[in-house]
């Protein structure tokens, strides 16, 4: 048991796996500095610095996984998936299906995601919905150091391709690297419980299992990553107003823990999705489908990102799911009474 920062917790899981299993390698741009301790410990043959060639090195990671390694390809920012989507859409995710389960692709793609530090519309996207839309991929997005460590551990033991997204607002090293640059003159609205916490070495958080972060019978808030912390903060305000919220942390987008979502919503009759990804055609819609398919008819609302994320910090604050927007949407939902329990 150790108290670790979010990014360090992930690196610790990677180091544990690398020490245990010589097939685990890391490749990506600038990994010799971004993962300097891993580079110094395991050497340049297991921590490979790549050119700015996402399609080639993520594609090569797919081939390496097929060839017997268990690579972690680092994509820096998930926004850059536009440069290598084919390797995920048509290669990594398809091989198991093509071979009817015979050939698997034990690949982890590690990338940062998310906003809140004023980097603009090409560098702060979430994109987990887009990636989760590809059958054959798993997509995980932790909200705490313990989960970050546990999900990376699980991802590295999993035999299929896993997209591991690391929210920059939770990762002090990334936020320092991209946002602060040594300045004391800037500040970010960082959720303390996401940034540092207790981590158990070797402990695995299984893919596809959500966690309940807060109990309440009035309303279910489903979220992930930074959204979870915003939702908890909102729930505390709401509790004082007499609205008690379940806060569910999905942790994995795909596989989606439909059972946990449905169980909570069946109890509360109200579903509020807090999703830093784009509003339409993504996770929030899938959650709506999940509850409808379960025969529930909850009151439903979502707090998401509506369009290109603006650069200006004050506009960005309005664009990303905030405590205020979540609380407002929750109050609105609480006002109308739901059908309970779900019929059907």
């Amino acid at each position: 048991m150790a108290r670790l920062e979010f990014g360090a917790a992930i690196d610790a899981a990677v180091a544990e796996a690398m020490a245990r299993d010589p097939r685990v390698i890391v490749l990506g741009e600038d990994v010799h500095t971004l993962r300097a301790p891993l580079f110094a410990r395991f050497g340049p043959r297991r921590v490979l610095s790549a050119p700015i060639s996402e399609a080639a090195f993520v594609g090569a990671a797919v081939g390496a996984a097929m060839g017997g390694l268990r690579p972690i390809a680092e994509l820096m920012l998930v926004d850059f998936v536009g440069s290598c989507l084919d390797s995920l859409l048509n290669q990594a995710s398809k091989v198991e299906g093509f071979t009817h389960g015979d050939w698997k692709v034990p690949l982890v793609v590690r990338a940062t995601c998310g906003g809140g530090y004023g980097d603009g519309g090409q560098h702060e996207q979430a994109l987990w919905g887009l990636l989760a839309g590809i059958p054959g991929l798993s997509v995980v997005v932790p909200s705490t150091p313990a989960d970050a460590h546990g999900l990376m551990t699980a991802a590295l033991r999993h035999d299929g391709p896993v997209i591991f997204l690391e929210h920059k607002l939770l990762s002090r090293s990334w936020l320092e690297f991209l946002g602060a640059g040594g300045r004391k003159t800037v500040s970010f609205d960082v959720p303390p419980d996401g940034v540092e916490g207790e981590v158990l070495a070797g402990e695995e958080v299984p893919l596809g299992v959500a966690a309940i972060r807060r109990h309440g019978d009035g309303l279910t808030i489903v979220s992930l990553a930074v959204g979870v912390h915003r939702a908890i903060a909102a729930a505390e305000i709401l509790a004082r107003e007499g609205i008690d919220c379940d806060v569910l942390d999905l942790r994995s987008v795909r596989p989606l823990d439909r059972v946990a979502v449905v169980a909570s919503v069946a109890r509360t009759g109200r579903l509020l999705v807090v999703d830093e990804d784009y509003r339409e055609f993504g996770l929030s819609g899938e959650l709506a489908a999940a509850v409808l398919e379960a025969g529930l008819s909850p009151r439903f609302a979502r707090v998401c990102v509506d369009g290109t994320i603006p650069y200006a910090r004050h506009l960005e604050d309005l664009a990303l799911p905030s405590v205020a927007r979540i609380a407002e949407a929750a109050r609105e939902l609480a006002r109308v009474s739901p059908d309970l329990p779900g019929h059907g």
Binding site: P22, R23, I25, R45, L48, A50, P51, S53, A55, A56, F57, V58, G59, A60, A61, V62, G63, A64, A65, M66, G67, G68, L69, P71, C84, D86, S87, N90, Q91, K94, V95, G97, F98, T99, H100, D102, W103
Partner: protein, 335 residues
């Protein structure tokens, strides 16, 4: 490998392609069926230097290499027929034939064999020292970003990788040189790669060049790029519309030629020069397609036949035909 051994593999590959073609015509194979006829010397010549533990990444014409590598022929045929007895139980089809045990994959996305091959090379270096990987692709793929990036990655990481460009001059109905700057070999050299340029219809030359390059890769001396000029004997895919139109302008080509002519004569549109340039280009493409259609002068099998002698060749071809015939029967292809 001796000339007879190489010829035998070429004959096996050709017999397999011919059987595929017959099944396709019968309507028993679906989708875009790209044959590798014309590429048999490259397949046989390169694979001759491979050993267990080596890996190959293939494009949309994977069957000659897979046949030479020793993938179960009946299983491949059954796969193309979409049967449960297929090597992938009908899930993959002809653009995605793979063999985990032989470390061979294929993909229908142009250019994707290069990064996959680089990854095989990386894994091979770590897990199977002395092994190599080979990536096969076409001349058109040389314009695909992920492949270009891989030329660099292979050089930068000094991967045990042989990049084989099967240059047939075509990208579907486009003359590759009409959309390409420079020359593939110079391009590869510009990425710092060792290069070699061979006549891909000459199996001996391919075998020799590949053996050298593969040896160097095994010894940790890094990647190479091999350009092999090959003929395209059966159009882009079976039933290639341009080839059919070129073969029979008054038959299969009637619609196309009629449409083009009336469009060129349309009241509005580009200037006369522009229209003329377009029409001339289209006619030139049809002329080339017609000339190359089943052009036996450039058929690598015909060329190899003379090396091994007519008698040996005929015997090996008969054996190959028999082997493939048995595979067709086993796959349930004959009916």
């Amino acid at each position: 490998m001796d000339a007879a051994g190489l010829f035998r593999q070429m004959a096996r590959a050709r017999a397999f392609e011919d059987a595929t073609s017959a099944l396709w015509r019968e309507g028993r194979i679906s989708g875009e069926m790209h044959l590798g006829t014309g590429e048999e010397a490259v397949a046989a010549g390169v694979v001759a230097s491979l050993r267990p533990g080596d890996a190959v990444a293939l494009d949309h014409r994977p069957t000659p290499v897979l046949t030479v590598l020793g993938v179960d022929l009946a299983g491949m045929l059954a796969e193309m027929l979409g049967m449960e007895s297929g090597i992938h139980r009908g899930r993959a089809g002809h653009m995605h034939l793979m063999s985990r045990t032989l470390l061979a994959s294929s993909s229908g996305i142009v250019g994707s064999s290069a990064p996959l091959g680089a990854g095989f090379a990386l894994a091979g270096r770590a897990l199977r020292p002395g092994s190599v990987a080979v990536a096969f692709f076409g001349d058109g793929a040389m314009n695909q970003g992920m492949l270009l990036e891989t030329l660099n990655l292979a050089a930068a990481w000094s991967l045990p990788l042989l990049l084989v460009c099967k240059d047939n001059g075509w990208s579907i109905t486009t003359r590759t040189d009409a959309v390409t700057g420079g020359d593939p070999v110079a391009r590869a050299r510009g990425f710092g790669l060792e290069t070699v340029d061979v006549d891909g219809g000459d199996v001996g030359a391919v075998a020799e060049a590949a053996a050298d390059a593969i040896d160097r890769a095994r010894n940790g001396e890094g990647p190479s790029f091999l350009r092999a000029r090959v003929p395209r004997l059966d159009g882009h895919f079976l039933g290639d519309a341009l080839v059919r139109a070129a073969r029979s302008p008054a038959g299969d080509g009637r619609q196309l030629l009629g449409d083009v002519t009336s469009a060129a004569l349309s009241r509005t549109g580009g200037g006369l020069g522009d229209r003329a340039r377009s029409v001339v280009r289209l006619l030139d493409l049809m002329r080339r397609a017609r000339r190359e259609d089943r052009d036996t002068r450039h058929d690598p099998l015909e060329r190899a036949r003379s090396t091994v002698g007519q008698e040996v060749a005929s015997r090996l071809e008969a054996e190959a035909l028999a082997e493939v015939g048995r595979a067709v029967a086993a796959a349930g292809g004959a009916h």
